[in-house]
Symmetry: none
Subunit: 139 residues, 2 copies
DNA sequence: TATATAATGTTCTTAAAAAGAACAGATGAG
DNA sequence: CTCATCTGTTCTTTTTAAGAACATTATATA
């Protein structure tokens, strides 16, 4: 089984927080025996549990699973995230768009609705918007 | 369902790396259909797969699952620039919106068009969008 | 040391969830 | 339009983790 470090890390952080297996199990609403199994490497927690654990222990997921990535990630998650995006969309207009978005609360609401739609429906909206806007621009 | 961002992130990074679902599936030695299911939020990849993905995409696990805790933010140019704005609109959903915007180039184009309109016409669009989206959400 | 009690490890069965294959639909180039 | 590629979904099977019960170890206290 890969993720060799995970069982060890789990036990370490649990003890660091002075939890018994039972207490941790209660926090996560799982049985105690499964906590034991995680710590002994018999079974892997799923992603949802892993996220909960990283929150409880106040560590990153990467720290929890103990998989030092090959490249060194000095940047915070936030920074890494947006930095990548900016590399792709280095276009300065993106900054302006974000400014615009930040200042325009109703638009935020609209976009949140839009986001909640399936991609297919988003595209429907897209198409409409395009023609509607072009239409309006004539005036 | 938790981990809302994961499907979206997954698709984003796959496309960023110019992989088809099949190519990514081959790298991971899984079927293509399961990749589709991950991207559509029907199923969660397990921890082992998640780690592999973070290596392939060269991002942190936390970035992959999109559960970046705000407490770990480090100052970046981006953050410095938008710091004031974020104070005003401390709503966490704004972060997600910006995220979404950065990843969605067609939407950027749409919004740039939208921005170019007079406020009055923007409001026309707003009203229509609202009803259109509500309509679509019924399906 | 003996014994009680708490904490942890293991086994066995059940249940949940993801995997794959096959089919269906969408997208796009020519 | 047509073919090929890419993606989404359904159905079934398989995998794997979950829980309960039992076993073992560790710790405290008389």
């Amino acid at each position: 089984m890969p993720l060799q470090q995970l069982p060890h890390n789990l036990r370490h952080y649990r003890q660091k927080h002075q939890f018994t297996q039972q207490q941790l199990a209660d926090l996560l609403k799982v049985s105690r025996s499964v906590v034991a199994k995680w710590e002994n490497g018999h079974v892997l927690p799923d992603l949802i549990i892993a996220v909960k654990l990283s929150n409880i222990f106040q560590i990153t997921l990467d720290a929890l699973v103990g998989e030092a990535p090959e490249t060194t990630f000095v940047l915070s998650d936030f920074q890494a995230h947006y930095q990548n995006a900016f590399e792709d969309y280095a276009d300065a207009s993106v900054h302006q768009l974000i400014d615009f978005l930040l200042k325009n609360k109703p638009l935020q609401a609209q976009l949140n609705l839009y986001r909640s739609l399936p991609v297919k429906q988003q595209k429907t909206i897209d198409r409409f918007l395009l023609t509607a806007i072009e239409e309006l621009k004539k005036y």
